[in-house]
């Protein structure tokens, strides 16, 4: 019972933060709402017994990525006149909702038709650091190495892109 109270509270924060992000006019408010929804998402991982994912989401997504985004938003310090005004934001959001609704409805109908089962109990060490690490370094070594290459490429790419802007 308490689990479902936690779930609905987290879902409220998750969806509220996400909608706040796409409706806020100030960029930093958007980022703050996004941070709220990502913290709620890490709570969802905890509800799913994914203790390591919970930690990774909290540390990497919230602690690193969003903090970095907020730092960039604040430090670039774009003056008010360069920020897009978006006078018809409500209409644009409505149009977006009209386009997104059929896609989401299709996914919802498909999910409702196929997933009626409830969660089976899992072993005690499911989702812990040790057990995720064992899976990662046995069956998932190749994707792991490829991701490290991708991260290196992104690092170099970010440096190159920002240097090119400096020269011109």
């Amino acid at each position: 019972m308490s689990e479902s109270i936690i779930f609905y509270t987290l879902a409220l924060f998750l969806l509220g933060g996400a909608s706040g992000m796409i409706t806020a006019r100030r960029t930093i408010f958007s980022a703050a709402s996004f941070m709220l929804s990502m913290i709620a998402l890490s709570g969802m991982f905890a509800l799913l017994h994914q203790s390591f994912l919970f930690l990774a989401q909290l540390l990497v997504a919230v602690g690193a990525i969003i903090t970095l985004s907020m730092l960039v938003i604040v430090s670039v310090n774009i003056s008010e006149r360069y920020i897009p005004k978006e006078p018809h934001l409500g209409r644009a959001l409505l149009l977006g909702a009209l386009i997104a609704a059929p896609i989401v409805a299709l996914i919802v109908v498909a999910l409702q038709a196929h997933f009626t089962a409830s969660f089976a109990p899992v072993p005690e060490d499911f989702g812990t650091l040790a057990s995720i690490g064992a899976t990662l370094f046995s069956a998932w070594v190749l994707p792991f190495e490829l991701i490290s290459l991708l991260l290196l490429a992104a690092l170099v790419g970010a440096v190159v892109i920002s240097r090119k802007g400096e020269r011109s």
Binding site: F7, Q50, Q57, I65, V76, F115, F119, S131, L150, I161
Partner: protein
């Protein structure tokens, strides 16, 4: 809680991210909407991992977080470079690729 709740929630999150990508012009908000869609997929992967008792999904979700980090680094560098080049973070100002090339 049933798996359906989590799956529906991730579908809704994906939809909100999609609305953000379609409706907004601010490059920062676009970038965060894309991240939201990726995170929704991560939640779905974690749910399936729990449903099947298979940790592969959790590992995939972990790798997805790494991809989101890579995307954040490149996208933020790109926003800064675009702002320096064009003095704008309005997505509607960057239409060079959709216009006819005359020169």
């Amino acid at each position: 809680m049933t798996p359906l709740h989590f799956l529906l929630l991730s579908a809704l999150l994906f939809g909100i991210g999609l609305i953000g990508v379609i409706a907004r012009r601010n490059l920062f908000v676009l970038y965060m909407s894309i991240e939201l869609m990726l995170s929704a997929v991560g939640l779905m992967l974690a749910t399936f991992s729990r449903l099947r008792g298979d940790e592969g999904g959790a590992v995939l979700s972990l790798l997805l977080i790494a991809i989101i980090a890579a995307e954040a680094a490149v996208f933020l560098a790109m926003i800064i470079a675009l702002f320096r080049a064009g003095r704008s973070i309005n997505a509607h100002d960057f239409t060079q690729l959709s216009q006819e090339q005359n020169a």
